[in-house]
Amino acid sequence: MGGHRVVPHRLNLSRLKVLRSIQVNAWPRISGYPEDHHRHLIVLGVFSTISSPMFSELAIVLTLRAVTQLPRETVLFETLGKMNGMNPFELVFLLDVSDSSYGEARRMLAVVLNLVTAKGLLNFLESPPTIRWVGSHHYGRDTTFADYW
């Protein structure tokens, strides 16, 4: 991991032989919440320990408030780019919202991703990110962001 700062962490994924996906909560910073300056480095550090040949997906779990913060999260996208260079993945945005908020959250995220794409922050991806809902009764119901790309 030359050139990257490393924050010691407790999640060593190097022994996981069939790890397919990691899902990260509370990654985009939400204004008003205590800032943790290490969160990008923690995720980067954990990611760097992955050795599973089956790994193919990185998912960012988003609340409704976190969606609005995405355009300002340039460091997050820089970190994603570095991670993709280390071990390519498909990017997924998991909306952790209630049934009633899902429609609004999905529309908002589509707009935000268009902004982010226009800035070129997702140029490192080979395929468009996917939006998925993790509402309690709808886990696994996917919609591809390509529909809104």
Binding site: P8, R15, L19, I22, V24, A26, M54
Partner: protein, 282 residues
Amino acid sequence: MIVTPADRLLGNTSPETCTAHESTCRVPYDIVEAIVAHLARDIGALKTCSLTCRSWHVAAVPHLHYTLTLKGNRPDVIHGKPKPLLKLHEQGLLHLVKEVRVWDSGGWFVPREFRHSDLRYFSALTNVHSLELQNVDIFRFIPGSEHWFGKFSPTLRSITLSNPRGSHRQLSHFLSLFPNLDDVEIWNHCPCPLEDTIFDTQLVSVPSPKLRGRLALLNFYWVETWTHLIASCGLRFRHMDLRRSTSCASVLLEACAETLETLRFNATEGKQSCLDISTDSS
């Protein structure tokens, strides 16, 4: 041809003509099942369906009684009889219950509150797949937890414990009661008084749960619960969600190295706080 209510009463209708009610009842049963399944979360609609005719009633009733929730300070628990449970028992519907939720905010879900004879209501819950216990004092069911929860053993696949109170040994013993248990979710464990752990050394963890589905932990720090289960039966979880529970992470990841497919964690934790020595490794 316009058929008036009077014609219907007098039978002056052609053989092909039928009422909306009759049409509804002629819908093939598999279509009825599909329609009712779409309404599974709408209790009001399910109740309406169940009143339509016999075939709709048969299709709706399993969904209506799928979840049994006992909640509140004392959810109609009078002289040891939780009324919803008693009512279902009297109607012979307990076998339809697949999900049991006990949300105890008043400390009523303890063995001494129930008369021994009323164990038969729990015993009649023979088809429960999912059990959710909120604020349960596990230590109060020990010894003898098999008598209370043993009937769930053959069918139980998923368990959720919110704020469970007990020792780590009691908790692992409780989980090991269910041989087909796949999914475990625990939020905020609370230790029990030391004097309530005197039976811990006598607890035997058999049979072994399968534990091959999803593990979700929030604010859970007892590594010993898992080391005991790993030693007694092994863990085979495929999905893990660890939030503010990273002290258990290394043991759990090691145990599920061959099976874990998905890991969820918080970006703001996992850091070893006392070793926060960011280094340049370029």
